[in-house]
């Protein structure tokens, strides 16, 4: 965060360095971050090098055992599967969310607020309750199957619940607003005259989209991708409720180390640390791409 602040400060030439008052204003945020982001991560790191306690918990010390255990190919396989689910979720959220965000961003101001509200409404209900609602819809004697049978579109109920498809559906449903909102923010800021100029200069609609609209909404897409990809990688409740827990996601494996038979906290902490490093790498990658993109002249 500090890095970002200094770099944007450097970009905006002539900005004063933050004074004492600014630091004072920042203090609560810094304290909050230290207490709830830095400290837990440090504890997790320390635990990952500790030894397993008999009843759970840890015996502090230094061993690389947990990291050695994490190198077992099965955890790599599970990590790859989790990444694949998260990537698919992100891709589908982008395809479904971009047009929605664009329409909302270009709508008349009063309608815009109404539409934005519609995107937010699901947040008024607990995530778990909304996920259980999908069970009611997808189960074999559920709403969707009954409807399809009634309409004579299918003869037998389809097997929809407890499938990989149901898991991806649940993830896309959960995270779609996190894609729509940041893209909406950049669509709203999009300067319409640039689009008009491109059209005037003879670019077709497709070309305008690829060369003007898409690059200008890039920051929103980047933020949306991060906001969807990172949490969907770690969320395991959807996998349990809609997927029947038939395969483990990396989140399930970590949960089992704390709440399952193994009671192996150091191993769970090691997996968590590796996941955190992975997140940081993804974040760094997306951030760098964006900087490269914004540094590139528009004509490139």
């Amino acid at each position: 965060m500090l890095d970002e602040a200094t770099s944007s400060g450097a970009a905006g030439a002539g900005q004063r360095p933050p004074g004492r008052a600014a630091w004072l204003l920042l203090a609560p945020v810094i304290a909050w971050t230290a207490a709830f982001v830095v400290a837990p991560a440090a504890i997790m790191l320390a635990y990952s090098f500790a030894k397993r306690g008999t009843l759970g918990g840890v015996v502090l010390g230094f061993t690389l055992e947990s990291y050695a255990a994490a190198l077992d190919p099965v955890y790599l396989q599970i990590a790859v599967r989790s990444i694949a689910y998260a990537a698919l979720t992100t891709g589908l959220c982008l395809c479904a969310g971009y047009p929605v965000a664009y329409v909302i961003g270009r709508a008349a101001p009063q309608r815009r607020n109404l539409l934005l509200m519609a995107v937010m409404v699901p947040f008024w209900t607990s995530f778990l309750i909304r996920t259980y609602a999908w069970v009611t819809i997808l189960k074999s004697e559920g709403v969707l199957n009954s409807l399809l049978v009634q309409l004579h579109l299918i003869a037998e109920p389809l097997e929809m619940l407890y499938t990989p498809g149901a898991v991806v559906l649940g993830l896309v449903y959960t995270f779609l607003p996190f894609m729509i909102l940041p893209i909406y923010a950049s669509v709203e800021k999009l300067d319409g005259s640039l689009v008009e100029a491109a059209l005037d200069l003879g670019a077709g609609p497709l070309r305008v989209f690829w060369r003007v609209i898409l690059p200008l909404t890039g920051p929103g897409i980047g933020a949306g991708v991060l906001l969807v990809f990172v949490p969907s990688l770690g969320l395991y409740a959807v996998n349990d409720i809609l997927g029947g827990g038939r395969v483990d996601m990396i989140g399930n494996v970590i949960e089992n180390q704390f709440k399952g038979n193994a009671r192996n906290w150091p191993f769970g902490a090691a997996l968590g640390t590796l996941l955190l490093v992975g997140f940081a790498a993804v974040y760094g990658f997306v951030n760098q791409r964006q900087r490269a993109a914004s540094a590139r002249p528009l004509r490139a």
């Binding site: 009843l55 918990g57 189960k139 074999s140």
Partner: protein, 346 residues
Amino acid sequence: MKRLSSRLLVTLATLLSLGSAPASAEELDLFAWSEYVPQPVLDAFTRETGIRVNYESYASNEEMLAKLLSGTASYDLIQPSEYTVEALVKEGLLLPLDHAQLPNLKNVGAEYWGLPHDPKLAYSVPYMQGTVGIVVNVQKIAEPISGYADVFQTKYARRIVVVDDALEIVTFALATLGLGPDAVTKENLEKVRPILARWLPLVRVYDSDSPKTPLLNGDVDLGIVWSGEAARLMQEQPGRFAYVLPREGAHMFIDSLSIPKGADDARAAHRFIDYVLRPEVGRMISAEFPYTNPNLEARKLLGDAERANPASYPPGNPKLATLRDIGALAIEVDKLFTDSKAASGP
């Protein structure tokens, strides 16, 4: 659903604790399984004794241990299963019970004394007992099902629910090898590996919280579940479901009330235990959670239908083994289950 309701209960408990009784009133911090202690039982206890009960819930023994050991909260009463009682006693983390304060302990059946985890009930008093057995939707499955081997057949692929518990599933496989639940060793786990490789691809749902839900919804037709879940299925839809104890060998679990070291109010905890052991209170618990009631006097108050439910009270009252604390072997069990699941996935 348990996940949900446990959260609701915590919220409710918090709200209640905000709204009632002056701060000086005596309090009992109860840390128990979700969906296991009926609210009317707690309310009646508070009315009688003036002791307010804070019911905080958990969904696995290990989750309970994690919170207990973190030391961030102190509890007066916990509700561990037998293998966790064994582990806690080994580590010296439970207070010895004062039987003089528990006159109703005489109501506990003789079969609950002398068990390996706590033979003299010196640290734990049985709250509810259950079995892990097979539930079958008899309207969908005509063939007789009487053992694990009957459940895990290729013709039932994707019609099976099992509890999402590595140790439980390993003991099912051990039973088909003629081994009891206390036979968890490294060598035996290797024998279990090929069995799980055959079984797990057939499973449609793993669910420990509410395995009755996919059965009730018609998404699966048979399963291996907690007896209380099966008993509720049979109460809700009589004639649709049947429950049997696997012929290869079943085991039981006993969830007990224990007082952890460091409890603020051991006297109130004893009062609560003795209150729960009253026949009419045990009857209230059975009405809502139809597991096997270890309280023989409470059993006498049950209706004929409740007593005849084979999921709650298995015919012939078979003698069943219990799970034991397996120490660090739990890591191997977890790894075996993770491997087998990873190899079986869709």
